[in-house]
């Protein structure tokens, strides 16, 4: 079983090993995600709230495409029509002290310089 392959191509791995780990951060298996979809979740964010998939340190980066492929397969909705998960700052974990002062963040928050 090669999960990276699934990630790169957006394809669900063919043999559907129920104990395949889909979300490494929260240690969720293939069956956990399928169960959430069968309970009625239709979007990545809905699956997240039911299972915590995508809620850990990687914030969907490791599991997004696999789970999207699973939704497409279970529901028949084309992959291209699925909304991406809600991406929010910080896009990767940052130390809190980096967020403490406005000075340190001025370059990010001020936007492009004006003429």
């Amino acid at each position: 079983m090669n999960t990276d392959e699934g990630n790169r191509t957006g394809q669900a791995p063919a043999d559907h090993d129920p104990w395949l780990i889909v979300c490494r951060c929260e240690e969720l298996y293939w069956v956990d995600i399928v169960e959430a979809i069968r309970a009625g979740a239709r979007t990545l964010d809905e699956i997240k709230r039911l299972t915590r998939c995508g809620m850990g340190p990687c914030q969907w980066k490791g599991c997004w495409s696999t789970v999207a492929a699973m939704i497409a397969e279970e529901t028949g909705v084309p992959l291209a029509e699925l909304a991406p998960p809600r991406i929010r700052a910080p896009v990767r974990p940052v130390r809190l002290d980096a967020l403490l002062t406005a000075d340190q963040a001025a370059g990010l928050g001020a936007g492009p310089p004006e003429d």
Binding site: A41, Q59, R88, P93, L96, A102
Partner: protein, 361 residues
């Protein structure tokens, strides 16, 4: 084809699913309609404190304390671990002025019957050593705690389903027409005719209310929070502004912005939240932040819940409130009493919609 139901509930957050669960326990089979999936709105973007110590006036403090009393019972009835913990709650003061304000509030809350007390600086730090030693004291209430809101809503939904409730998720309500003492709903999934309608759509209540010609007396308030990486046990209590979850993540911050239904996070508020967190627990300075999130609260214009009948509309009821996580157990109970028997065991007079003169169009 029109679907006929006795009770239709519009909105499946903590409030709507709790009403559905309690109705199902009484043998009713409500149809719950939500634009998304249960818990996808405010109930899924919250600090999820179960909190009473700062609630005023007296009747609201007592109503809230009664809901907290129901939490352990509800947990048992749900039969699932919803990670409810009565940790005790602490409001920290950093100046003599803040101590004076909290002392005044503590006196008022004791008169209302809440078991609150004031703590010295030393006692506060003994109780919660991770707090900032610069604090000057605190107010403490043993009733306060927190819950996992995802698990709460999920357990309520599953309990309601098991009891015979039905959920139409991802379903938009397009029109509501009162007709012959019933309500005819046009939805994206088909027509529904309901004898009784319950409006529990939180921040989206204004949109649903507009379908009935009602102007909802509420404001919307965005709150932004930060989430840390999972940490070893650091904070045991629910601190006003900060708590640690079962999985070790610390959730902190609270902010109020009136920006409608916009749930984006902003760098300015993230700075403020970061500062609030480090001020409360200095050790947070060195931990990693995994995510920021924002949710939109619904806040009735006088801050108190709106519970009961919708004036001038027979068979239409409303349950819209701030603090829906804390209040979901008692709202499920009293609304079910009202819907099943026509009266509730706790007086809902202070929460009647009639108090807003602007409520009717």
């Amino acid at each position: 084809m029109t679907r006929h139901v006795e009770i239709a509930i519009l909105g499946a957050g903590a409030v709507g699913t709790s009403i559905a669960f309690h109705l199902a326990q009484e043998g009713k089979n409500p149809l719950v309609i939500d634009r998304g999936f249960p818990g996808g709105g405010t109930s899924g973007a919250t600090a999820a404190w179960v909190w009473v110590q700062t609630k005023t006036p007296d009747h609201y403090a007592q109503f809230t304390a009664a809901s907290i009393d129901l939490y352990p019972i509800l947990t048992r009835r749900l039969g699932m671990d919803i990670e409810y913990h009565r940790t005790g709650g602490i409001s920290v003061a950093f100046s003599d002025t803040e101590i004076a304000e909290l002392s005044h509030l503590a006196d008022q809350q004791r008169r209302a019957g809440l078991p609150v007390s004031m703590l010295s600086r030393e006692d506060t730090l003994r109780l919660e050593p991770a707090l900032n030693p610069a604090l000057t004291g605190a107010m403490y209430c043993p009733l306060d705690g927190n819950v996992n809101p995802f698990r709460l809503v999920s357990a309520l939904r599953q309990g309601a389903l098991a009891g015979g409730a039905e959920f139409w998720t991802h379903t938009d309500v397009i029109a509501i027409e009162p007709r012959g003492g019933r309500y005819r709903l046009s939805t994206s999934r088909g027509l529904v005719e309901a004898e009784t309608l319950v409006l529990s759509a939180g921040p989206w209540s204004s949109q649903v209310g507009a379908l009935l010609g009602i102007t909802m007396p509420v404001k919307l308030s965005r709150g932004q929070m930060l989430v840390t990486e999972p940490l070893p046990p650091l904070v045991r209590h629910t601190i006003q502004g900060l708590r640690q979850q079962d999985n070790g993540e610390i959730l902190f911050g609270y902010s109020h912005e009136e920006v409608g239904l916009d749930t984006r996070t902003t760098l300015e508020i993230i700075h403020e939240v970061a500062q609030v967190g480090v001020r409360l627990v200095p050790a947070l300075r060195h931990v990693h932040i995994v995510r920021a999130f924002a949710g939109v609260r619904v806040i009735p214009n006088d801050g108190l819940p709106i519970l009961g009948r919708i004036p001038g509309m027979d068979g239409a009821f409303i349950a819209v409130t701030h603090s829906g996580i804390t209040l979901s157990p008692i709202i499920g109970e009293v609304m079910t009493e009202l819907l099943v028997s026509g009266r509730s065991s706790v007086s809902l007079d202070p929460y009647a919609m009639e108090r807003f003169t602007e409520a009717r169009s």
